[in-house]
């Protein structure tokens, strides 16, 4: 599978090339936002208000970092579960959001929205808080400061490692990877569950 070094913002020809399973290194600006900020974004859009940041053509990183120690840019800063933000994704894609970075998979509805808007979802490795912090070179709170770790932050990434999980053509990494490594002989009469769900 291909390896891409991408300078943000994303462009359509760049997104076109990406395929689920490709390795990616991201450099440039992303916006950090998670649960509480997403709720505010969508509520603001519902009131026809402008968002505090222009997300047109941008990438959101689903992250709530630990506080930076003195002299450091940021604390631990790995991805949070993307599926939790799926209810908000279609609305943000409508206003031009081009990509998201998180952990885990996405619901079929979110995947379809990504395909329809010719966008992309990058999967970073969850639980890599210390290592990924090394690839974040600048951080600035730009909105909702009262939310603490959940505030919206402008971050500059440098060679940030991730994979393409959902591409613009309907490709989905778990569907590619799982079937290859499944061992029916060990699983016996257990019938696979193909649905991914958020929680029991």
């Amino acid at each position: 599978m291909a390896e891409h070094h991408i300078s943000l913002p994303l462009t359509d020809p760049m997104v076109e090339q990406l395929r689920a399973g490709d390795s990616v290194r991201l450099s440039g600006v992303v916006y950090a936002a998670r649960d509480a900020a997403h709720r505010r974004f969508v509520e603001a859009l519902g009131r026809d208000e402008h968002l505090p940041v222009d997300l047109d053509g941008q990438v959101i990183y689903y992250v709530g970092p630990t506080p930076a120690r003195p002299g450091r840019v940021i604390g631990a800063a790995g991805p949070t579960t993307a599926m939790r933000l799926d209810p908000f994704l279609p609305r943000l894609l409508e206003i031009g959001l081009k990509g998201t970075v998180g952990k885990g998979g996405r619901t079929p509805a979110a995947r379809e929205a990504i395909r329809r808007h010719h966008a992309v979802y990058f999967q970073a490795i969850g639980g890599l808080g210390a290592l990924l912090a090394r690839h974040i070179t600048a951080v600035e709170v730009v909105a909702y400061e009262d939310l603490g770790t959940e505030s919206v932050k402008r971050m500059v990434l440098e060679d940030f490692p991730c994979f393409v999980c959902v591409d613009a053509h309907g490709g989905y990494l778990p569907e590619v990877g799982r079937s290859r490594w499944r061992d029916p002989a060990v699983l016996g009469d257990y019938l696979s569950s193909t649905t991914e769900t958020y929680g029991g």
Binding site: G104, G126, G127, G148, R182, L187, E196, G199
Partner: protein
């Protein structure tokens, strides 16, 4: 002649909790690190091997540079095993634990992830309190404190079901495999799968939580339960989910089953998943 109880000042518990919160957030337990290394050396899928390599590297960087292993420094779950010959003095032990959490999270630059009201306001309490505290009385005159920073991503994938007794081992297996497959990458595999079977609804979930604390590679003392754990681990790893759901042979490092007698009509089964950043730290006072 009976001995007087040993006095333990709760400020010692507060100090211990503050220290353990910070150590747990930065240092991956040796048994988990060893299990991950073993998995990385036997994993055949290239992408999965790359993920495992980075997870190991993350543990080294976290310890050396004092950056938390994961930005989700969790709900602080604290187990207090209090010897029955201990007399706690100096104040409210729950307040002491929460004082320790608040101090530990501030001093360690750990993330405050607790909101005050789960349904309505959901405002961050800013110091990660309150902790979830489990107290148990045990023989002796010591206090054992276990601090478990439990991540939201994996805790969210917990499941509980009361099965028909006729469902038996097959039913439990079905629920374990389904939970792992449907959770996909959300709980951050490779996992430690905790399974609590028996008792009542709340006790089964408690057993599942205790099960994730068992050192990786250690099996249940009952050989039949141990054999069931081995079988479940092989099957979980045959699902192909792999580390972070990228596909591979390492979906779990361990499946730990705890059992308790139950009602003639019941088969309660609880599942608690632990992520690869399986943090815990304990101390005895």
């Amino acid at each position: 002649m009976t001995r007087p109880p040993r006095e333990v000042d709760v400020t010692r518990i507060e100090e211990t909790v503050a220290r353990l919160c910070q150590e747990a957030a930065h240092v991956l337990p040796d048994d988990v690190y060893a299990a991950l290394r073993q998995a990385a050396s036997s994993e055949q899928a290239p992408l999965a091997r790359e993920v495992l390599t980075q997870i190991l590297e993350n543990a080294v960087v976290a310890r050396q540079e004092m950056i938390p292993l994961c930005q989700d420094t969790g709900t602080t779950v604290v187990f207090l095993e209090i010897g029955q010959d201990v007399h706690l003095v100096g104040g409210d032990v729950h307040a002491a634990v929460n004082g320790g959490v608040a101090r530990g999270y501030a001093e360690g630059y750990l993330r405050a992830s607790i909101v005050d009201h789960p349904i309505t306001s959901r405002v961050n309490t800013r110091d990660n309190t309150p902790a979830v505290i489990h107290t148990e009385l045990v023989p002796g005159d010591r206090v054992r404190v276990i601090v478990v920073p439990k991540g939201g991503g994996c805790e969210n994938m917990s499941r509980f079901r009361v099965m028909l007794p006729a469902a038996g081992a097959g039913g439990i297996r079905e629920l374990v495999l389904r939970t792992v497959e449907e959770s996909g990458g959300n709980p951050c595999p490779p996992l430690i799968v905790g399974v609590g079977v028996g008792g009542t609804a709340e006790h089964a979930m408690y057993l599942a939580k205790r099960a994730i604390l068992r050192p990786a590679g250690e099996h249940h003392p009952d050989p039949e339960v141990a054999a069931f754990e081995r079988e479940l681990l092989a099957q979980v790893n045959a699902t192909g989910v792999g580390p972070q759901n990228v596909g591979g042979m390492t979906t779990a490092l361990a499946v730990n089953v705890e059992v308790f007698p139950t009602h003639i009509a019941s088969l309660p089964v609880a599942i608690n998943l632990q992520c690869h950043s399986a943090r815990q730290k304990s101390a005895e006072i």
